[in-house]
C-alpha cells in the first residue's frame, strides 16, 4: 500500500471504530455499575437451592461484560491497526513498507491490549470476588504473565523498527561521507 492509501484507510478505521468502542465501553460500565450498586446489594441474603442470588447476578454481569469486551476487541484491533499505520506514515522511515506498518501495528496493539485487559480486570475482578477470591487471584497472575509476554513482543517490534531506522541513517551518513570524499 502507498502512504496515501495507508493514511486514508487508517482515518476511515478511526472514524468507524472509535465511536463504536466508546459505546461498547460505556454500556459495559453501565452494566457493571447497575450490578455492583443496585442488583448485588439487593441480592445479598437470598438464595435459590443453596446458590446465593448475589453470585448468580455477579455471574450474569461478568458474562455480559465479557461478551461486550469480546465484541469491542475487534474495534480495538482495528483502531490499533489504524494508529499503527498513521505512526508508520508520519514518524517512520521513508515510504511506509508493509513490514514497517506491521511492526508499528504490533507494538501499538500490544500496549493497548495490555491496558484494555488491565482495565477489564478492574471491572471483572470486583465482580469475581463475589463468587471466588481465589479465582480472581489466579486470573490476576495469568494476566500478569500474559502482559509480560505481550509487552516483550511489542518491545521487540519497536526495537526491530529502531534498528532498521538506525541502519538507514547510517547508510545515508556513509553515502554522504563517500560523496564528500569524492568531491575532495
Amino acid at each position: 500500500m502507498t502512504e496515501e492509501e495507508v493514511r486514508i484507510e487508517s482515518k476511515r478505521e478511526i472514524y468507524d471504530s472509535f465511536p463504536k468502542l466508546v459505546v461498547y465501553v460505556s454500556i459495559a460500565i453501565l452494566i457493571y455499575l447497575f450490578a455492583i450498586l443496585v442488583f448485588i446489594p439487593l441480592g445479598h441474603g437470598f438464595d435459590i437451592a443453596g446458590v446465593p442470588t448475589a453470585t448468580v447476578i455477579s455471574a450474569i454481569a461478568i458474562i455480559s461484560v465479557l461478551v461486550l469486551l469480546w465484541r469491542s476487541s475487534r474495534e480495538i484491533k482495528d483502531l490499533c491497526d489504524a494508529i499503527g499505520g498513521l505512526i508508520a506514515v508520519n514518524v517512520g522511515r521513508e515510504g511506509a513498507s508493509d513490514e514497517e506498518v506491521a511492526h508499528y501495528q504490533k507494538a501499538v496493539k500490544g500496549i493497548v491490549y495490555v491496558f484494555a485487559v488491565v482495565i477489564t480486570f478492574l471491572f471483572i475482578g470486583s465482580l469475581l470476588t463475589e463468587i471466588s477470591e481465589g479465582a480472581a487471584g489466579i486470573l490476576l497472575i495469568l494476566i500478569f504473565l500474559w502482559a509480560v509476554c505481550t509487552l516483550y513482543s511489542s518491545g521487540m517490534a519497536i526495537s526491530a523498527e529502531i534498528e532498521a531506522t538506525a541502519n538507514e541513517v547510517a547508510q545515508k551518513l556513509e553515502k554522504g561521507v563517500a560523496k564528500k570524499e569524492e568531491e575532495y
Binding site: 465511536p19 463504536k20 459505546v23 454500556i27 446489594p41 438464595d47
Partner: protein, 110 residues
C-alpha cells in the same frame, strides 16, 4: 431515522426496567425529618413487602422445599430477571448504536 427511534425506545425501556430497582435501593436510605416524606416512604415500602408476601404465599404450595423459601425465590427471581433484562436491553442498545455509527461512517466516506 428509524434506527435512532429504535435506540431511543431501547434507552427508555432500560430506564423503565432499572428505575424501580434503583428506587427500591434508595428508599431505605431516605432520612427525612419531614413527616409526609417519611410516611410516603413507609407506604411504598409496605406496598412492596405486601406484594412480595402475597406472591410468595400464592406460590408456596408449588415450590419444592429443597429450593428454599418461597419469599427468597420470588425475590431472587425478580432480581435475576431484572439483571437479565438490563443486560439484554444493553446489548440491543449496543447493536443499534453500532448500526447507526456504521451508517454514519459510510455516509462520511461517500
Amino acid at each position: 431515522m428509524e434506527s435512532i427511534n429504535k435506540l431511543l425506545l431501547q434507552i427508555v425501556l432500560l430506564i423503565i426496567t432499572v428505575l424501580p430497582f434503583i428506587a427500591y435501593t434508595e428508599l431505605g436510605k431516605i432520612e427525612s425529618t419531614s413527616e409526609p416524606i417519611r410516611n410516603a416512604v413507609e407506604v411504598i415500602n409496605n406496598s412492596i413487602y405486601n406484594a412480595i408476601h402475597f406472591t410468595s404465599a400464592m406460590l408456596e404450595p408449588f415450590i419444592p422445599p429443597e429450593l428454599g423459601t418461597a419469599h427468597d425465590i420470588v425475590l431472587s427471581c425478580i432480581l435475576i430477571a431484572g439483571m437479565l433484562l438490563t443486560v439484554i436491553l444493553a446489548v440491543l442498545i449496543v447493536r443499534t448504536s453500532a448500526n447507526i455509527i456504521t451508517e454514519w461512517a459510510m455516509g462520511k466516506d461517500a
